[in-house]
Symmetry: C2
Amino acid sequence: MKGKLFVLSGPSGVGKGTVRAALLKEYSDINYSVSATTRAKREGEVHGREYFFVSVEEFQEMIKNDELLEWAKYCGNYYGTPRKYVEEKLKAGEDIILEIEIQGAEQIRKKFPDGVFIFLAPPSLNELRLRIQKRGTEDETKISERLETAKIEMEKMYNYDYVIINDVVENAVEKLKSIIIAERCRIENYIGLKEGDFNDG
Amino acid sequence: MKGKLFVLSGPSGVGKGTVRAALLKEYSDINYSVSATTRAKREGEVHGREYFFVSVEEFQEMIKNDELLEWAKYCGNYYGTPRKYVEEKLKAGEDIILEIEIQGAEQIRKKFPDGVFIFLAPPSLNELRLRIQKRGTEDETKISERLETAKIEMEKMYNYDYVIINDVVENAVEKLKSIIIAERCRIENYIGLKEGDFNDG
């Protein structure tokens, strides 16, 4: 059986990173694809864990060499998904989860139409504003810019397979884990498997 | 939002009752529709909990009065789903789970094409034989009869939405619960909801 690709996306500030990190802590039965970015490292972040932090020059080199499955410029920074890791895992029959911005998810959808696309939504845009402000990594202009983008991004929700309202992190994690487990039970995964699995012959 | 109908089915002896009971013990956020049957009550079973145990005459009266959503005769006994409880819960926006035989599930599929159909499968037919023998409620002729039926029933699997291989009960319960939670996150549930849920206007 080929591995399944799960894509967690949603507007900036909704808490994708928190939910994804909490999932991986609780549930180790999935591989995480670490993205590359040119944005500044935040406190507590580790190179190769949250992101591969690279320079603009390095990022452009990766684009040039076709080493990225998708990439996007978002609020002045580049973000992208290294191709090799994802392709290797899927080929080996292992599942993988990406946590990426909306623009990147759209590119992935085109390349992996069978992927499972999960939209993490804020309870409201007001709540989203509070979360971005609370994070305290951006000035007011950038916050407004992110919120304007978020409003547009919310409309992309209907292109996704699943929606998780991120009200409480634990609930969101349980839903994400449930989606992964349920998707593995879908009948499509069993079509074409040899009959011997269900016979005593 | 209208309630969702989940249907757990699978060959006789696969452990539907055990998995369903374990689910309800762990997870109370779903209603269970108790079936009616004319089969003899087994040790430990309670009227109104596992089944409504009725006489053949009472069952035929229910059929006549259109009180059953589906019914089937299986290995000499009648089994059926009382209509009223299911329709009331769904209308009230509550989810409901049925645990029924394959024939009954096919009738439900016709009436509720949007239902979520889950097939509980044995790891193998050999394992299924052992389980039926271990239960010790049937003689050899009936066991052979059930196994022959099971072989035919296994081919219905591909009409279902999900498959759960019932290897270990706890694993099967986790999968069943995950399917319920994941189905509630599907985007289709959010289409047509008022935009206000995602706006701060």
